[in-house]
């Protein structure tokens, strides 16, 4: 329903730059997740889109029209807050009805005692009731309409907050960590419900979270923010497999990506722990960092070896923590087959396929690689 375009958004609080020039375009009907560590400015960006916070410079366009001078309610966006922000003194019904009453009733019709006596009020109130009840039906909260927020569980409050957002059919929904106050099980459930809601409404969703599982499972695209900058946006698979910055690589994925110190030789080859990889790049020679996801580490074969220092068996998968002698390094390997775990304190050989490797320069930017020969890793030149 809406396309949102951010250009060169900057924001500072008391001289501290919180957003350092954000350019981003959110397409109509997309489910965008904004992820990033705490304090990176996600909420601030969302509030700027909503109009709750003025930016220092830059523009927000919604459907091609600048909205910077427009009040939050007139932007016709809906927001769901982390704390749900329901009106504590109003029943569920009235909470959901507030946006409709504000929009459809005149100021006089909203007056506490006089309002209900006015001629047109009855019919409007009937429409509002029908709309609220329709929403309550969709969200399974019809039996709760008379209760106050204080008498609802966290999950129910969350639904009421979503209902209040849905009822006025906004151009886009803004969510600020809506699930973070729920317990783990309910969170997984609500995740599915929100994704389902997005499919049904086909509206634009902008979803702030620092839970990468939420971002990976629900979104059509993920935008990763760090320190006030948007460093990468792409589909979950792109972000996971082709992070263009080491901070993105480290932020997305659990357990974290393994990072090994490496060297780019003058001929463009790459050495890790004294072993040359079957890779080449065109970057200048020097230090680099080599990232390999835990599930891409093959235990049992390969040119490297480490000692098992810790095992985490989760039943369906297991994580093997390896210490690499001499390098003072720890690696984590994910094993899909938990029946064949290496013994604690044993020494295991490991390796990884060249296409599992991502290389980053010292500043953290990804270096493009050419795989020289698929699959095999050359034996150590000299150890």
């Amino acid at each position: 329903m809406a396309q949102i375009e951010l250009s060169a958004i900057r924001k500072s609080f008391d001289g501290a730059d919180v957003l350092k020039g954000i350019d981003f375009r959110i397409e109509d009907g997309e489910f965008i997740s904004l992820v990033g560590p705490s304090g990176c400015g996600k909420s601030t960006l969302l509030r700027i889109i909503a109009g709750l916070e003025p930016q220092n410079s830059g523009q927000v366009h919604i459907d091609g029209r600048p909205v910077d001078a427009i009040r939050p309610s007139a932007r016709n966006l809906a927001m769901v807050f982390q704390s749900y922000a329901l009106y504590p003194h109003l029943s569920t019904f009235d909470n959901i009805a507030v946006p409709l009453r504000m929009r459809r009733l005149s100021a006089i019709e909203r007056l506490p005692l006089l309002g209900p006596l006015l001629p047109g009020r009855r019919a409007k109130e009937r429409h509002i009731r029908a709309d609220v009840e329709g929403i309550a039906e969709q969200l399974d909260i019809a039996p709760l309409l008379r209760r106050k927020p204080g008498q609802l569980s966290g999950g129910q409050r969350q639904r009421v907050a979503v209902g209040r957002a849905m009822v006025r059919e906004p151009r886009a929904f803004l969510f600020d960590e809506p699930l973070s106050n729920l317990d783990a099980k309910l969170r997984v459930h609500m995740r599915a419900e929100l994704a389902e809601l997005h499919r049904r409404l086909k509206a634009t969703f902008v979803y702030v979270t620092h839970d990468q599982a939420e971002a990976m499972t629900m979104s059509s695209r993920i935008a990763v923010m760090m320190g006030g900058e948007l460093i990468q946006a792409g589909t979950p698979a792109e972000i996971y497999n082709h992070p263009n910055d080491i901070r993105v690589a480290e932020f997305i994925g659990s357990p974290k990506i393994n990072v090994l110190p490496g060297r780019i030789r003058t001929d463009g080859g790459v050495d890790v722990l004294g072993t040359a990889l079957k890779l080449a790049c065109s970057a200048a020679a020097g230090e680099c960092r080599v990232g390999v996801r835990p599930e891409r580490i093959d235990l049992g074969t390969g040119p490297f070896s480490g000692t098992v220092v810790h095992l985490e068996n989760l039943g369906a998968e297991a994580f093997v923590h390896l210490a690499i002698e001499g390098a003072g390094l720890r690696l984590i390997a994910r094993l899909a087959d938990v029946r064949h775990l290496p013994a604690m304190a044993s020494s295991v050989a490991f390796g990884f396929a060249p296409d599992a490797v991502r290389i980053f320069d010292p500043a953290g930017k990804r270096i493009e690689l050419r795989v020289e020969q698929p699959e095999r890793i050359r034996e150590p030149a000299h150890v």
Binding site: L52, R71, P72, M79, P99
Partner: protein, 278 residues
């Protein structure tokens, strides 16, 4: 001493102290009721007794109502205290909202001024305010009783502290829903702040219902008098002070407060302990 003994002993001591304190506090009230129930001869008798030999409460009350227009004074008291309270709320809530939730240049300075205002005793400004009312030609009117109290810095302070505890998200949600800033004050902040408003209302109503100083200065006309002045009326009569009717009148004028307290006891205590509410 064993534990089994020490606990009841300390409990008894505690209660004795509390009862003594309560007796000390209640003594004037009991004396008032006692005096209001005695005929004139017994009041001036040299022996001390609390229970009157001859119950004269009805006569004293009748005389009190006959001598002074007590009902009118009570009505004045209601009009004045309610007007003051309503106006105080109408000023304090928007001001407190701005100080607690809006960001603007000079907010901290304004708040410091509010705190400073709390330190100024009302007597210190009595003369300038009196002169201003005189210049405005408002002396000896309801306006003279109400206007000087409409801006309560204490009210602004109390409300501001309470509004600070209202989550910002709630205010933002209201903005997203299309409620105006004034709408937020009345539709969102006021309902959330009912305990604080009640507490403030109690302080305000009690203070202005019992206020003797200000009405005494600005009033001349008998028909505008507030309840405490009504009591003074009995003292000032040339025929000498008639204590029986005076005490009966005092009983009548504190009755509304006592009744209100009994009805809203829980709220009252909630209000007093407000600082403990998160």
């Amino acid at each position: 001493m064993s534990n089994a003994h020490s606990i009841p002993f300390r409990a008894i001591l505690r209660h004795v102290l509390l009862i003594a304190g309560a007796a000390l506090m209640l003594a004037p009230f009991i004396w008032m009721i006692s005096t209001a129930s005695k005929p004139q001869t017994e009041i001036f008798s040299s022996e001390l007794h609390l229970i009157p030999h001859q119950l004269a409460l009805a006569e004293n009350l009748r005389e009190a109502f006959a001598k002074a227009n007590l009902l009118r004074f009570l009505l004045n008291g209601v009009i004045v205290t309610i007007s003051i309270f309503v106006l105080q709320i109408m000023v304090a809530l928007p001001a407190a909202y701005a100080l607690a939730k809006l960001r603007f240049l000079g907010r901290e300075t304004l708040f410091a001024l509010v705190l400073f205002g709390i330190l100024i005793p009302p007597q210190a400004t009595a003369v300038p305010v009196f002169l201003m009312l005189h210049k405005a030609g408002l002396l000896d009117s309801y306006a003279a009783l109400v206007l000087p109290f409409t801006i309560s810095v204490f009210g602004i302070f109390l409300m501001r502290q309470f509004f600070k505890t209202v989550p910002d998200d709630l205010v933002d949600a209201a903005r997203m829903d299309g409620i105006s800033e004034f709408g937020i004050v009345w539709r969102v902040m006021l309902p959330a702040a009912i305990p604080a408003v009640t507490a403030f209302g109690i302080f305000s109503v009690v203070a202005h219902w019992n206020d003797y100083f200000w009405p005494l200065i600005v009033l001349n006309s008998e028909q505008l008098r507030t309840p405490p002045l009504a009591v003074a009326h009995f003292r000032n009569s040339e025929a000498g002070t008639s204590y029986g009717p005076l005490m009966a009148a005092a009983m009548v004028i504190i009755a509304p407060l006592v009744i209100a307290f009994l009805f809203a006891q829980r709220r009252f205590i909630e209000g007093i302990t407000l600082t403990g509410i998160k």
